[in-house]
């Protein structure tokens, strides 16, 4: 099944796509070189896919640059984690310890955030029937803030703007990745 048949019809900006594609391909080849792709253990596969996903977001953020708040947020978040990824590749004792600590905190934070998100999305369900429009809007903006990177500290106006740009870049990212996957298979 070709991805081109099922692509989402959204606006794509070719310039960003080209930049992202170049960076992403470069990082993919790097990943393939470091780790052999023939590992079959599920944990390893999961780790690899996670890493590829992070690489994708990082390449997208780099392609966009520091112009956008969400790209800055991604870069900052990933630069913190990336250092520790590199440290884990180098495999020194101190660095592995640091990596373990920081990865636990970072991933722990991610997992905690996810749990919080679940809780937050589930707990309002008893309150759904209340006609508090303001509360509904607040919940939705809260959800949006969680989804969009860097959305915690923005007012709703810029949050919406960032979301629009983020959506275009995500769509471009998906488009590029689909094309790459298609060529690989």
């Amino acid at each position: 099944m070709t991805p081109s048949d099922g692509t989402i019809i959204t606006a794509t900006n070719p310039r960003t796509e080209m930049k992202f594609a170049r960076r992403f391909l470069r990082s993919l080849s790097k990943t393939r070189k470091i780790r052999p792709p023939s590992s079959s253990s599920s944990i390893c596969v999961k780790k690899r896919s996670e890493r590829i996903k992070m690489a994708a977001y990082w390449c997208m953020a780099r392609a966009v640059g520091s112009r956008r708040a969400w790209s800055r947020a991604i870069l900052m978040k990933l630069s913190r984690g990336r250092q520790h990824h590199h440290h884990c590749f180098s495999m020194t004792m101190m660095k592995t310890r640091m990596r373990r600590k920081n990865r636990s905190t970072w991933l722990g934070k991610v997992k905690k955030k996810k749990k919080e998100e679940e809780v937050r999305t589930r707990s309002p369900s008893p309150y759904d029937e209340d006609d508090d429009e303001e509360g509904l809007m607040k919940r939705q903006t809260q959800k949006l803030r969680e989804v969009v990177p860097g959305g915690k500290s923005m007012d709703i106006c810029s949050l919406l703007e960032e979301t629009a740009h983020f959506v275009t870049c995500l769509a471009a990212q998906v488009h590029v990745m689909q094309t790459i996957a298609h060529h690989y298979s």
Binding site: M1, P3, D5, G6, T7, I8, I9, T10, A11, L28, P37, S40, S41, S42, V45, K46, R48, S49, E50, I52, K53, A56, Y57, E118, T121, R122, S125, E133, L136, M137, Q140, T141, K143, L144, V147, V148, I156, C157, L160, E161, T163, A164, F166, V167, T168, L170, A171, Q173, V174, M177, Q178, I180, A181, Y184, S185
Partner: protein, 435 residues
């Protein structure tokens, strides 16, 4: 829209609603010709309103105390003003509604009460005067001097001509495209005509600042349900601000903020597919779902590059449980939330359910499938797809995307069952298959 009653209403409570005087104007333009004898008198006085060099307070002073304006030679405002105060006020409201309405309202009410206005003989004259006032405004702005008959097309062409000049007034831009569906958009066109003429005239900067906001504020005022009433029975000093026409800077800033948010929401609406929702809350829901869906697609795509069907199966189970917890709500037709064991269980359960439904009624079966984001396809097509993409037994995921069935991600293929259900997003047709 009832013209006559609205006219009376508008003239009597001009300050109550922003669009009514303009709709009156529109009606007047549509219905009446401009009687010449009224030309000279109102022109002089009404032109005093649009003296560009003065602030709004000065406007009111000019208007009400009938100071002669420098830019108009044939100015004898005083006697005219005493006779018919309402229409110049109306014209004033037409042009400069959004600023310093408090003093204007009070003075207007003073005049109206003093002159005991509203006698029917003046209605036609006031209508004509409002028309004249508008004409004068347009002519004073150096717009290509149309004759009286050309008055109506002119604001619309002005509005059309000023599309590139107005900044990013999306709403106003849309109003240009449909110049005459009703009073409201033509009202917007008129406002944009004024705005454009103000731009073209090179007027005072604060006025030009106000004008681009006026159409948006006009939209805001027009879209609000009921204008706040400032009853004539109120004492003269107390002026309650109308909705969309507040005077203090806080509400103006608030209004600007709301307009900006509405702009951004509109831009987002164009980006996100399935954007036919008019409600802001549901639009936000849609946006959130779409972002989550895209992120999910990225995740899936990053997994698909690793290859190996066997390795995918535990990932499948993980993602299924993730998706179940993420979506957080079960569709109402009794969908079984996928157990943590494996995705195949859910597939078989789904198939059994579908088979049961198909015995009763094909439609309900299709609806059930659609609720889960699946569809039926003939076996030959399914096998063709599977041989095209997959090597061996395809253990693909049955995955529940975000709540709307349009946003499901992956293809499901069961080699065992007699029915092949292929999952595809209905609208976008996004499908990712695992190699």
């Amino acid at each position: 829209m009832q013209p006559r009653s609205r006219e009376m209403q508008g003239i009597n409570s001009l300050l109550n609603s922003s669009q009514i005087p303009l709709s009156d104007l529109h009606q007047i333009q549509n219905s009446q010709m401009h009687p010449p004898p009224h030309l000279t008198n109102p022109s002089s006085s009404s032109s005093s309103h649009f003296d560009p060099s003065s602030s709004h307070d000065d406007f009111l002073d000019q208007m009400l105390s009938n100071l002669p304006s420098s830019s108009w030679p044939d100015l004898n405002p005083k006697p005219f003003w005493d006779d018919t105060p309402p229409p110049p006020h109306a014209a004033e409201n037409v042009a400069f509604q959004y600023d310093d309405q408090a003093s204007l309202a009070s003075k207007f009410r003073n005049h109206r009460i003093s002159s005991d206005g509203g006698n029917p003989s003046t209605t036609s004259s006031t209508a004509a005067l409002m028309l004249q006032a508008q004409q004068q405004l347009l002519m004073s702005r150096g717009v290509a001097g149309a004759g009286e008959s050309g008055l109506l097309p002119m604001p619309l062409s002005l509005g059309g001509g000023d599309v590139d000049r107005s900044r990013n007034d999306v709403v106003d831009g849309s109003s240009f495209k449909s110049p005459n569906p009703g009073g409201e958009s033509s009202v917007q066109a008129l406002y944009n005509g004024f705005a454009g003429s103000m731009h073209g005239g090179g007027q005072v900067s604060n006025q030009t600042q106000h004008f681009p906001h006026h159409p948006q504020g006009q939209n805001l005022g027009a879209t609000t349900q009921a204008p706040a009433s400032s009853t004539p029975a109120q004492p003269r000093q107390r002026v309650r601000a109308r909705r969309g026409q507040a005077t203090d800077p806080h509400s103006i800033a608030e209004r600007l903020r709301r307009e900006r948010i509405a702009e951004r929401m509109k831009a987002l609406q164009e980006l996100v597919p399935n954007a036919n929702k008019t409600d802001k809350a549901s639009m936000l829901d849609e946006i959130i779902d779409y972002v989550k869906f895209l992120q999910l697609q990225v995740k899936v795509l990053s997994m698909s590059r690793l290859g190996g069907a066997a390795a995918v199966a535990p990932l499948v189970a993980d993602m299924a449980s993730e998706a179940a917890s993420d979506s957080g709500q079960a569709p109402p037709n009794g969908n079984q939330t996928p157990s943590s064991t494996s995705a195949n269980d859910t597939i078989t359960m789904t198939e059994q359910q579908v088979a049961k439904l198909m015995e009763e009624d094909m439609g309900s079966a299709m609806q059930y499938l659609q609720g889960k984001g699946l569809c039926l396809m003939p076996i030959s097509l399914a096998t063709a797809i599977s041989t095209a993409t997959c090597h061996s037994r395809s253990a693909l995921i049955n995955q529940k995307g975000p709540s709307s069935p349009n946003m499901s991600v992956l293809t499901v293929q069961s080699a065992t069952a007699g029915i092949a259900a292929a999952e595809s997003s209905v609208k976008e047709g996004a499908s990712v298959s695992k190699p």
